[in-house]
Amino acid sequence: MTSLSTVRQQVLAGIDSHLVRRLAGPLLILLAAYGIVPLVADQYVIESLLLPFLSLSLAAVGLNLLTGSAGQLSLGTAAFMAVGAYGAYNVVLRLPWVPMLLAFVLGGIAAAAIGIVFGLPSLRLRGFYLAVSTLAAQFFVQWVFTKFSWFSNDNTSGVITAPQLRAFGLVFSEPTARYLFCLTVVMLLGLAAERLLATTTGKHFIAIRDNELAARIIGVPVLKTKITAFALSSFIIGVAGALWAFAYIRTVEPHGFNLDRSFQILFIIIIGGLGSIRGSFLGAAFIVVLPLVLSRLGSAIFGGIFDSGVVEMCQRMIIGVLIILFLILEPDGLAAVGRRLGPTLRRLLWRQ
């Protein structure tokens, strides 16, 4: 009896320390995100840093599934965001009885459908030929939303103004409320993506990326897996677009989803780490904060000598340099840097 309870204690202790070690980080982050940030962050921080950070993180998670994990290069991410945003907008507009969360899901499904259409060429095309197909999606979608005002409730330049966020009978209009809404959606989809990568299908993604012929020969259903990757990736990106439109900027024009936006998300996953869900968040944080830091730094050092144009050009150059440096020196991005720093940080924490 005593020995049994000791064993039980030991097992519990083992689980405990293992679980604590594994979950401590994520739990702390969640605690901070839900408990501390809403208390300390002012409107500016939420509206110009946290909301874009969350939407872009989610878009990057989506792109990372397709490009980072499944190895299919996409240059049309912003187009799929646009489909999600305009899709959700039209559902809310035309089917007012549909709950808004469901409208977001439908927006995501619309994006997934378009993703499948432009992903279909991946069944026959590879590499850059496929990338060109996603570019076609980029230009075509942008054109459709600019030209056909039906999608924007007859606004001649395609601009939509998103209605207030509502879910479960609550209205999320304050910045903090929108932040919490965004956080919850992004967290749930981020966890889902992480879970997806652990499934057999997730491993098929990586197999196809690393060696498509070998994957085919051992019996991986290559075509089905690619289409799945396109669909799931576009779904997540579509929901990210809806968040971008409803929770962040709220008045959206098609031009906001241009090629530069697609590149921005591509840069996020390069800097964060190709194939890493965690990296998507790190990369997004980096890309959102970098311009701010640079312009503060610029004005601190040089004062106001340079106009905003010069500052912007400098930012673009620095981003370009960083992309190349990351690709050469740290191909696994900030996620890998974090993995290396993790144990060191933990040791420091435990010592204290």
Partner: protein, 298 residues
């Protein structure tokens, strides 16, 4: 009435074919680098912008045409060699996607750098070619378009000749076929790659001058890269002949669609039409018009 329409159709068609030649020129810059090092160089567009901006600024400082051309060419060569040394060489043996992403970063650097150095204003560029239309039979054609197509065509022909007939060109092709074998027989890869980047710089310069004279030298010049992609897809990323035919087809169908189909949709279809043409074609023939059939090496 009918005759008028036919005449108009031919004017549009010829205009399209002539700008198609200029598309081919831009696409050729891609093919050259892709063939020899397997890199799809997204920065080709920003190189066009850089070359045109540099040239126009030198001209505005009062330098004669030839001197400005030469200095720009030297700068492009320095740029090319620098890129080869600092970006491409450390990324040797990495996956094509990584190489492409690096050139995407590169395009941000060159584009922003060019505008930092030379400013963001739009510059007019006068090459001294008259733009009054000339009458060829019943059809009137822009004189500038003809001259631009002739210059592009000459450069393309010269490069084809260089590739097919000269010793250096043949070593280029050897490198393209099998870099490791080329290395084994003692071809100096880094020198060849540097040369390739310099040639791509020359093409960017000529393309920058022609397109700059037509559209004004400004930021949007670097977007020319987006016009070259459908041409590349159509012609195959590794075929010089393909880029020429692909450029003509894209130029012609794009102009025809813009004039005759576009109005049905309220215009603006030129941003994506070429892509759709290329994609539909690709689904029928996955390796482009003249791209090599890929035999997988296992």
């Amino acid at each position: 009435m009918m005759a008028d329409q036919i005449q108009f159709f031919f004017e549009v068609l010829i205009g399209g074919l002539l700008s198609g030649v200029m598309y081919s020129l831009v696409a050729l810059g891609f093919v050259l680098i892709y063939k020899t090092s397997g890199v799809l160089n997204f920065a080709q567009g920003s190189m066009v912008l850089f070359a045109a901006l540099t040239f126009v600024q030198l001209r505005e400082k009062g330098l004669p045409f030839a001197v400005a051309f030469l200095i720009t060419l030297i700068l492009m060569a320095v740029l090319g060699i620098t890129v080869e040394r600092t970006v491409m060489r450390p990324l040797l043996n990495r996956s094509p996607i990584v190489l492409f992403l690096a050139t995407l970063g590169l395009s941000y650097i060159i584009e922003a750098g060019a505008q930092l150095i030379w400013g963001t204003q739009v510059h007019a560029l006068d090459l001294g070619i008259s733009d009054t239309p000339i009458q060829v039979g019943p059809v009137s054609i822009s004189q500038f378009d003809i001259s631009a197509a002739l210059i592009s065509g000459t450069l393309v022909a010269a490069l084809v000749f260089f590739f097919q007939r000269t010793r250096t060109g043949l070593t280029f092709r050897a490198v393209a076929d099998d870099p490791f074998a080329a290395l084994a027989v003692g071809l100096r890869l880094s020198r060849i790659w540097a040369l390739v980047w310099i040639t791509a710089g020359l093409i960017a310069l000529v393309a920058g001058l022609l397109w700059g004279a037509r559209l004004g030298v400004q930021f949007s010049l670097s977007l020319i890269v987006l016009k070259a992609f459908p041409v590349l897809v159509l012609g195959g990323f590794d075929s010089i002949l393909g880029t020429i035919v692909g450029g003509l087809i894209i130029g012609a169908t794009e102009k025809l669609a813009e004039v005759f189909v576009g109005p049905l949709f309220g215009g603006g279809i030129e941003t994506w039409f070429a892509y759709v043409v290329a994609l539909v074609f690709l689904l029928i023939r996955p390796t482009g018009l003249f791209g090599q059939k890929v035999v997988e090496r296992v």
